[in-house]
């Protein structure tokens, strides 16, 4: 019933929004209270704060490795010193006190931890039973009011498999049914009893938006029948976004114009518009599911129309067609190495997309969108790198590692904390058994904030989720 109502309201977004107001929890009392406080913030922008604390770590010297630093450099026979949860130093022949643990990494490779900026772990966890489908608030085309972190099941066994693949941080996004799917959340890949215990400290919020087939399939011809709901077409998609941005601009103006020191009551809260206003304020980063080049160009124009910027286009299988434009606009593309053809907007996917985007000077990112793919993102980068080289795009392995760490970190607004092996940054580090561009390489040790969270040599020390306790295969090597 609710579903049907939302679909009808979706036909005209303006109606939908005012209708939503009636059904949603607004808390005028609290707003008024806050308005009279000392702070200029009329409401709490971070009501579910991170409680993540780095786990205890030793000072560790990773000695004699081949190092990709995540910002384009490769060093042979290099040392990386982890101290106090941070990268303390990288260099040749570092000297340390006798009591410092030394890991012989000769013949091995050391890289920054991999950051997957497109995951649904926790919101579409394993096992994928219907009760676990918490990734799409499909009840309407505009659900900017929902937050992925409120759907994450922190016991998803997928987190442990991703850890074994060298994933140290990830963005968990709502699904792509909606024009505005809701807020994403960036987490450290450290199992916790609560989502708050995983949240990457001070990472900005993100907003998931979606182009193309999904919104129109879910709300238009797929669900609504004919004449069905809206959006029914790509035209309807664009109209839907624009209607919301107009609302958001108006909402933002109300808040900007409001003087907290005056006697005037604060504007009424609207959860949906809080998120969109956050984007227009530059506090929230837009991550947009968009396959086709022509649609990305439309979205870029729209972002200029309303005064915001897209951080990254996701699944951008056609970025190679407009790589020059993406470079000029300084927008990242989050891509698969070789997925194509499973839907019409993926039909023009090619294997050289990532290197061609990189080669044009644009920001290239390897993402997974998969609980399987997230475990082997290093191999995805390797495939793309090799395919690029075969057509004469000469990219070094060290440069290709930027697709896995620094570029995704930048797209998430966390590059000042992680994503490269630079002194002072979080010690999110992987020791690989061999060249991580080889299919035979495995992550041997994974450090997060300097704490050893995965050790292939000591499988008994690796985490087992609550769900897997007492089940077939508990604690088995996965």
């Amino acid at each position: 019933m609710k579903h049907a109502i939302k679909l009808m309201a979706g036909a005209a977004i303006a109606v939908s929004l005012s209708a939503c107001d009636n059904g949603k929890e607004t808390e005028p009392t609290e707003t008024t209270k806050t308005a009279k406080s000392e702070t200029s913030e009329a409401f709490n922008k971070n009501p579910y704060p991170s409680t993540y604390k780095p786990y205890p770590s030793e000072t560790v010297l990773l000695q004699g490795a081949t190092v990709f630093d995540g910002i384009g450099n490769e060093y042979q026979n290099y040392d990386v010193l982890l101290k106090g949860g941070e990268i303390a130093e990288i260099g040749e022949g570092l000297e340390v006190d006798d009591d410092v643990e030394v890991v012989d990494a000769s013949g091995k490779f050391v890289t920054p931890g991999i950051i997957d900026n497109h995951s649904h772990l926790g919101v579409y966890p394993s096992p994928g039973v219907s009760a676990h489908g918490d990734g799409n608030e499909a009840s309407g085309p505009v659900t900017a009011e929902v937050w992925a972190e409120h759907g994450v099941w922190p016991q998803d066994p997928g987190f442990t498999r991703a850890l074994a693949g060298g994933i140290t941080s990830l963005q968990i996004l709502p699904g792509s049914a909606n024009l505005f799917g809701g807020r994403g959340v960036t987490v450290k890949n450290v199992l916790s009893r609560t989502v708050q215990g995983m949240k990457f400290p001070d990472a900005p919020y993100t907003l998931k938006m979606a182009c193309g087939e999904n919104p129109k399939r879910v709300y238009g011809y797929g669900n609504g029948g004919f004449p069905g709901g809206a959006p029914y077409s790509r035209m309807g998609n664009m109209a839907g976004y624009r209607n919301s941005w107009i609302k958001a601009a108006d909402y933002k103006k109300k808040w900007d114009d409001w003087d907290p020191d005056s006697d005037e009551a604060a504007p009424a809260r609207d959860l949906e518009l809080d998120t969109l206003k956050g984007v227009l304020d530059g506090d929230i980063l837009v991550h947009m599911h968009c396959y086709r080049a022509d649609e990305m160009a439309q979205v870029i124009d729209m972002s200029k129309e309303f005064g915001y910027k897209v951080a990254s286009f996701h699944h951008a299988v056609e970025s190679y067609k407009i790589a020059d434009k993406l470079a000029e606009e300084n927008i990242c593309s989050s891509m698969w190495a070789d997925w194509y053809g499973f839907k019409m907007e993926a039909y023009d996917g090619i294997r050289e997309n990532i290197p061609m985007v990189h080669n044009a000077g644009a920001c290239a990112i390897v993402h997974s969108d998969s609980d399987v793919g997230i475990q082997r993102l290093n191999q995805e980068a390797a495939k793309a790198l090799a395919d690029g080289r075969r057509v004469g795009i000469d990219i070094s392995k060290a440069d290709a590692w930027t697709w896995l760490s620094s570029n995704p970190a930048k797209s998430l607004g966390i590059f000042d904390q992680t994503g490269s092996l630079e002194p002072g940054k979080d010690a999110d580090v992987v020791v690989w058994s061999a060249d991580p561009f080889s299919v035979y390489a495995n992550a041997e040790k994974v450090y997060i904030d300097g704490a050893l969270m995965f050790d292939a040599d000591r499988p008994q020390k690796t985490p087992v989720t609550d769900f897997e306790l007492g089940q077939p295969g508990e604690g088995d090597i996965k």
């Binding site: 394993s126 096992p127 994928g128 039973v129 066994p157 997928g158 498999r161 087939e213 190679y320 067609k321 790589a323 020059d324 070789d338 997925w339 194509y340 053809g341 499973f342 839907k343 019409m344 039909y347 023009d348 996917g349 090619i350 294997r351 050289e352 061609m356 044009a360 998969s370 609980d371 399987v372 793919g373 475990q375 082997r376 191999q379 390797a382 495939k383 790198l385 090799a386 395919d387 075969r390 057509v391 561009f437 080889s438 299919v439 035979y440 390489a441 495995n442 769900f467 897997e468 089940q471 077939p472 295969g473 088995d476 090597i477 996965k478």
Partner: protein, 420 residues
């Protein structure tokens, strides 16, 4: 057992292609022929088949190719795919893998759908896959229909073996379309076996059996009598034991399993029952309750127990059948011996599907051969040349043409659409 059936269609298609195949000799190859690795090897292919060669002077009329020490392997066999029966997964009009509204099940024959010109066929071949096992999906019945084996040449006669097997799903998917439970699926399967094993006698007076209509009973009768392979999708250890028990009840059935995530838990029983498995070495998540025991060690444990094991890539079995190689590489990363992994994507599927003369490069084998620019299981390697039945294949696809069009974005003279 299963390895023994040879189907006439195989020989027929090889003859047709053989007539136009080149006679070639590949010299200086790092040859893995299916059982051993030989450096500086020479391999000769005449009339589309590998011929014995003793390293003397090459026979007349043979084109010599210097591999310069590169890897040469049999063409890869992707042992469970839906390539060629779907163009765009999400577009029903292009998707013949399932037929939810059809009254038929066992009679659904993928040979009626297979399109050798499907864009993905070229893309699959470019990655070194020369033969594909094409299986139906499961839609309205636990019996999906008849699968086939084809080559990836893109030519009209590329079906190697039609009706190579009947595909059945006894996992959660099969239960779901059988009325909603495992007992319902098993009741249906036993009834279907009864119908098909007594076809046509019981259909003299009625067109419907206990579980199958006349058409489906006819289609299922070969499998039910042990004359055709039954490929069973199944995951859970207890479900696998049920299948083993079925083969005890009907000893002449020829059965192989696909999925088998918990196969390692019953590896010894599978080996004893001589039931081969087709598994995805990536499978390590408890994605459903039926595969809580999934682990990347499945491959190694099954192979060590002596179970004939082939690999496939399950995440997108149509467009990404080409990732069968990456699956095998990851199996090696999880402890499987390199040669066992290679066998799992060449000779093992050939044996499971009764493809005599495929999946190896020994005398008499089909000239399905790939020259690589590196270790074939490495993700950074790719084929440089691909031969099917001795005939060299083009290394072009819709994807390479798109790539070449957009490598340079200069359209100052003409739109890019004029570039091809």
């Amino acid at each position: 057992m299963i390895g023994k059936f040879t189907i006439l269609a195989t020989a027929a298609s090889a003859l047709v292609l053989g007539a136009i195949a080149q006679d070639i000799a590949i010299e200086n190859a790092k040859l893995w022929d299916g059982s051993k690795l030989t450096e500086d090897a020479t391999i000769v292919i005449r009339d589309g088949k590998v011929v014995a060669w003793d390293d003397g002077a090459l026979p007349d009329g043979v084109e010599a190719i210097d591999a310069e020490g590169a890897w040469v392997t049999p063409g890869i066999i992707a042992s469970f795919t839906q390539a060629g029966i779907v163009e765009v997964g999400a577009e029903d009009s292009t998707n013949d893998t399932v037929a939810p509204a059809s009254p038929y099940s066992a009679a659904l024959d993928m040979s009626d759908a297979f399109n050798p010109s499907a864009a993905m066929i070229d893309m699959t071949r470019l990655e070194g896959v020369t033969r594909i096992v094409v299986a139906p999906g499961i839609s309205s019945s636990l019996i999906g229909g008849q699968g086939l084996v084809a080559d990836t040449s893109g030519t009209p006669d590329s079906i190697t073996k039609s009706k190579a097997f009947t595909y059945i799903n006894l996992g959660e998917a099969g239960a779901g379309v059988s009325g909603g439970s495992r007992p319902a699926a098993w009741a249906k399967l036993r009834a279907a076996l009864g119908d098909a094993r007594t076809y046509p006698a019981r259909y003299i007076t009625s067109s419907d059996g206990d579980a199958l209509n006349r058409i489906d009973a006819q289609a299922f009768s070969a499998a039910a009598r042990g004359q055709q392979l039954i490929l069973i999708g199944v995951s859970r250890a207890s479900d696998i034991r049920q299948v083993i028990a079925l083969t005890e009840q009907y000893p002449n059935l020829k059965i192989a399993l696909v999925g088998a995530q918990e196969g390692w838990m019953v590896a010894d029983e599978l080996a004893a029952a001589d039931i081969p498995v087709i598994i995805d070495p990536f499978d390590n998540l408890p994605s459903r309750f039926e595969n809580l025991g999934a682990t990347q060690k499945n491959a190694r444990r099954l192979i060590e127990a002596g179970v004939k094991t082939a690999f496939y890539y399950s995440d997108d079995a149509s467009h990404q059948a080409r990732l069968t190689l990456q699956s095998a590489g990851n199996a090696v990363g999880s402890g499987v011996d390199f040669e066992d992994a290679m066998r799992a994507i060449t000779s093992a599927p050939a044996e499971i599907f009764g493809l005599d003369g495929y999946g190896s490069l020994t005398t008499g084998s089909a000239g399905d051969l790939v020259i690589w620019d590196g270790d074939p299981l490495e993700v950074m390697s790719a084929p440089t040349r691909v031969f099917i039945d001795g005939e060299e294949q083009t290394m072009e696809s819709r994807q390479t043409k798109l790539r070449d069009r957009y490598l340079d974005l200069d359209e100052s003279e003409k739109p890019l659409a004029y570039r091809r």
